[in-house]
């Protein structure tokens, strides 16, 4: 059963390479980015129980880091990947550490992350450094060395690798000491403390890891579409997207965000074929969320246990 599932996933993952349609490649790469984002959210939110409503903050940090480093300082785009990851990791670490110090968990943590993402959006919209509401355009310069490809299938490959890496991180969490401690904290922070687990440090590490992976998706997005602005980079709906991919698929599982990403992406593409009004697909997401909470709270991945 498991092997059949893996084979099916590999087939789905490789199928887009067979088509020469750029539209298919575009759809595939957006789906891969959605899965990657969901897995990233899963690291902190699913395994760590740190429900972040502001994860787009990390996406935007990634997008703006690459855009600014390229346009202002001429840094090679490939190099911006690790830099963006490092900056986002630092941001995640600081946010989690401060929240731990202040005793903010659960809903309060969710709200603070929401506020931080909004503050970032306002900053991006107001500072000259980020070119304010105008946004930043990246020059078209198709070359592998410049991380730009005319065939979107290559971008899809990169996105797929990131999604795979994110999934591997989640797999590592289920098998490592760090992960065992993180999960223990999610279940019962005081009991974990009594057994010698440094709750603040572990949580901060989880958010740092989660933020770093999310930032990578932001970099890729910027390279594909060559334009970002405060709403694209820090718009609140992207936070919801990431969270839903994990929740719908099954947060705290390895395969959940993969399922969630595929289901939600299919839903949004399919609904767009039916009714192409802005807001229709996201409205469906709302219905899906309500259905999942009501009928399948553990997400699709836990369907067997439901």
């Amino acid at each position: 059963m498991k092997i059949a599932g893996i084979v099916a996933l590999v087939a789905i993952a490789l199928a887009p390479f067979l088509s020469t349609s750029q539209a298919v490649a575009n759809m595939a790469l957006l789906a891969a980015l959605a899965v990657a984002g969901g897995q990233a959210w899963n690291i902190a939110g699913g395994f760590g129980g740190m429900m972040s409503f502001g994860h787009v903050a990390f996406f935007g940090v990634g997008a703006y880091t690459t855009a600014i480093l390229q346009t202002r300082y001429g840094v090679n785009p490939w190099l911006t990947l690790p830099i963006a990851g490092a900056i986002a990791a630092a941001v995640g670490f600081i946010i989690s550490w401060c929240c731990s110090r202040a005793g903010l968990q659960g809903s309060y943590f969710a709200l603070v992350t929401l506020a931080i993402a909004e503050a970032f959006r306002i900053l991006a919209n107001s500072l000259d450094f980020t070119r304010g509401g105008l946004g930043i355009s990246l020059d078209l310069n198709l070359a592998a060395s410049n991380f730009q490809f005319s065939d979107k299938r290559v971008f899809y490959a990169v996105a797929l690798i990131v999604a795979l890496a994110a999934t591997l991180v989640c797999w590592w969490i289920t098998r490592s000491r760090f992960g065992a401690r993180l999960i223990a904290i999610r279940e019962n922070p005081d009991a974990a403390r009594a057994l010698g687990v440094d709750v603040s440090l572990t949580r901060a590490g989880a958010l740092a890891l989660s933020g770093a992976v999310t930032a990578l998706t932001g970099v890729i997005y910027a390279q594909v579409f060559l334009y970002i602005d405060p709403n694209i980079a820090f718009g609140v709906w992207r936070s919801v997207d990431m969270m839903l991919v994990a929740l719908v698929g099954g947060s705290g599982t390895i395969v959940g965000p993969i399922i969630g990403g595929l289901v939600l992406h299919l839903l949004s593409e399919g609904s767009r074929e039916l009714i192409d009004i802005p807001g229709f697909a996201p409205a469906l997401y709302g219905i899906v969320l309500l259905l999942i909470i009501g009928l399948l709270p553990g997400g699709f991945a836990r369907l067997r246990h439901a």
Binding site: S176, R177, A180, E187, R193, G196
Partner: protein, 243 residues
């Protein structure tokens, strides 16, 4: 091994602990007794680092641990269990214990092996792969102890570990605690089940109204009129003596 001097703690306007001095001797089983509301669990919480005393000092193996975070105290060898059991509900019994084992063992496979061994030793062998939330009360108590033991503590704080157990289970736990003591772990326990205390404790301290009113062997404190008063009320000692 553990010494707490001049400990005081108040909540709001209530002075829960007034001025307590306690010494725990290494290798022995010490009992902390007292009527409900005397402050036993508050003392435990302070010793283990979950609550900060308003005044006083706590020294563990000649190290001043006053104000240390609970995880730090656990790391230097003093670990507590909880009166109301606190399992990691979503995890299996083995994985619950493994979290404790991870304090001393980095490698997941070794930690799992250790955890399972400890689970076996504490009578949880049959339920190792079941969810912790499916355990009976007795099972959960054992799990609390198993998790704590997995951290290889030098001093184990057992908070009313026998509450909610039937007589057979109590006897089993008493044997278990003796085995733990024999393996070289010092134990401080709070309890209401007097016959268990009588079998286990080398030293007993009685806490009432926020202060220590008596210390000695279990027999000694049981015959102390002050202790009888604390449990049975003012004048009870006199009345019992007259009866």
């Amino acid at each position: 091994m553990l010494s707490a001097t001049g400990i005081a703690k108040s909540f709001g306007g209530v002075q829960a602990i007034k001025a307590v001095d306690i010494e725990i001797r290494s290798g022995a089983i010490t009992a902390l007794l007292g009527p409900n509301g005397a402050g036993k669990t508050t003392m435990f919480a302070m010793l283990a680092g979950f609550i900060r005393p308003d005044r006083g000092r706590i020294t563990f193996e000649r190290r001043d641990i006053t104000g240390w975070a609970p995880e730090r105290i656990a790391r230097v060898g003093m670990v507590r269990t909880f009166q109301v059991t606190q399992p990691f509900s979503g995890l299996s019994v083995a994985h619950n214990i493994r979290v404790g084992a991870f304090l001393r063992e980095n490698r997941p496979r070794e930690a799992e092996t250790r955890a399972r061994a400890i689970g076996e030793r504490l009578g949880l062998g049959k339920v190792l792969d079941r969810s912790a939330s499916s355990l009976t009360v007795a099972g959960r108590k054992r799990l609390e102890i198993a998790r704590a033991m997995a951290t290889q503590p030098r001093l184990l704080l057992l908070d009313e570990v026998m509450a909610g157990l039937n007589p057979t289970e109590i006897n089993e736990i008493v044997e278990l605690i003796k085995q733990i003591r024999d393996s070289g772990v010092t134990i401080l326990l709070t309890e209401h089940i007097m016959h268990a205390v009588a079998q286990l404790a080398d030293v007993a301290h009685v806490l009432a109204g926020g202060t220590l009113i008596s210390s000695g062997t279990p027999r000694q404190i049981a015959e102390d009129p002050k202790v009888i008063e604390a449990y049975l009320g003012h004048g009870a000692a006199q009345r019992l003596a007259n009866a």
